[in-house]
Symmetry: C2
Subunit: 306 residues, 2 copies
Amino acid sequence: MIAVDWGTSSLRLYRLDVAGMVLERRRSDDGVLASVGRFGEVLARGIDGWDDAVIILCGMVGGRGGWQEVPYLDCPAGIAELADGMQRIHPPGFDGRALWLMPGLRDLMSDSVPDVMRGEETQLAALLGNLAVGSHLVCLPGTHSKWVGVRDGRIQRIATAMTGELYAVLRQHSILGRLMPVEDGRFDAFAFDTGLRRSEQAGGMLHHLFGVRTAGLFQQVAEAALPSYLSGLLIGHELRASGAFSQKPRPAQVHLVGNDRLLASYAHALTSLGIGVQRHPEDLAAHGLYALWSRRTATRSIPESV
Amino acid sequence: MIAVDWGTSSLRLYRLDVAGMVLERRRSDDGVLASVGRFGEVLARGIDGWDDAVIILCGMVGGRGGWQEVPYLDCPAGIAELADGMQRIHPPGFDGRALWLMPGLRDLMSDSVPDVMRGEETQLAALLGNLAVGSHLVCLPGTHSKWVGVRDGRIQRIATAMTGELYAVLRQHSILGRLMPVEDGRFDAFAFDTGLRRSEQAGGMLHHLFGVRTAGLFQQVAEAALPSYLSGLLIGHELRASGAFSQKPRPAQVHLVGNDRLLASYAHALTSLGIGVQRHPEDLAAHGLYALWSRRTATRSIPESV
């Protein structure tokens, strides 16, 4: 089968064997935003040379503004609900193949404002088997960091923090960016820790943000290290307001899913705040899609024809 | 005398009589950023036809990147220190006139990160006479909102919140802006209050910001009302972390200085949180400069020659 993780800004394609091992992987910047109006064409080019009959896609490709919108499923949801929620689509140009889109998940119950995910539920599907007993907290850091509560193998709760996007817009468009070097440069662990500690002080985030400027102007933090300081400050605010601190009982550890660079920052921050971490690689989506497809074919008396 | 409030993005000029009454006022968008390299020329055009001998300037014109940098004075500072801290400059083209720049203020003691103001100290100078006894809290909302603690007529404490700038960059450059109408449109008091109440819930500001998107997507808040919702959310976070809540004893009221539109939002928010307000007009700078010049000439045995 072919597993496709098609997000807002990137496209990841995996060819899997019948046991779910990744035979080949490809990546491009043809994310959903760059592919509007030509999804079939972009996908056909992406899987060129792969003749597998089943293609399963997750991520924003199934959202509003994507190829075709698949409605959100409601939390709580586990492997069974996610596998059941797949929708087959029939775009032209894919005769002899079966294309399936994953639904996203929404959480209408945990908070007064709904929260959602689309793509991350598939990464989580690869983990849910290992989280089948008890309560667990998973964090998928990124542009929009997802904090996910899992109980007895089912996704119960979603809380998103806009950390990565706020970092980017402040860096590129605010007065804070003007003091900083154009490129982020080398990660400065000392400045990151200084920002992390700043986040626990009084005054609130809006005040702490202005302090990034004065910390630079008064040379408390070198200008080259200000990006790391800002990153530590924002991640600190994210962590302190997250389930890692508010959940009762406090989780003994947080499962982290993401790329090495981001995970290093989050693991360091959580550890220094006294919380254990367990890291998982970013390309869980391929394994999640395999697990979901296996579940779907195993529980249907007649597997959907191709 | 001529009083000049020359900030980052605007230039305000006032002609005052000997009693400090405003005879004439002018305003332009030739702020400091737009005037670099030609401050003398911009000022000469601004005061064209006014032959007063004394010109006093406050705001970013005296900051780094301004006409000439005047070092910050340290808090605590009152009328006496501010009047003493004026610096005369001698640019070409102003023969027969005396030009003075106001210093800014810095607060190195109240927090682990320094805080500063440049221009607001002059607005405050117009109020300090009325705040001569006891402790007072003044808020000057804006791009960078200033929260100022005054005790016995002297400025003790400065805390800046980046509220207005964060609103603008999120509005223009983040995913939140994409859901909103291009123009802010009519202020929506109900949505503002909804955002204000949201700010007191658990989850933290980074989570609440993502919720602006889902509140729009799930039609909890109409898209046209999302700017007011975001404004209420950010102002709520600013107020709850400000001295209005953290200062002990809690101040009975907050003095608000600024333009009518902003003051209406802040006054409404503070009142609904149970805190009284007293409003002051935005053009206090002219009165402050008059008060400072009067003080300076009254306390020098020989007024500086023109």
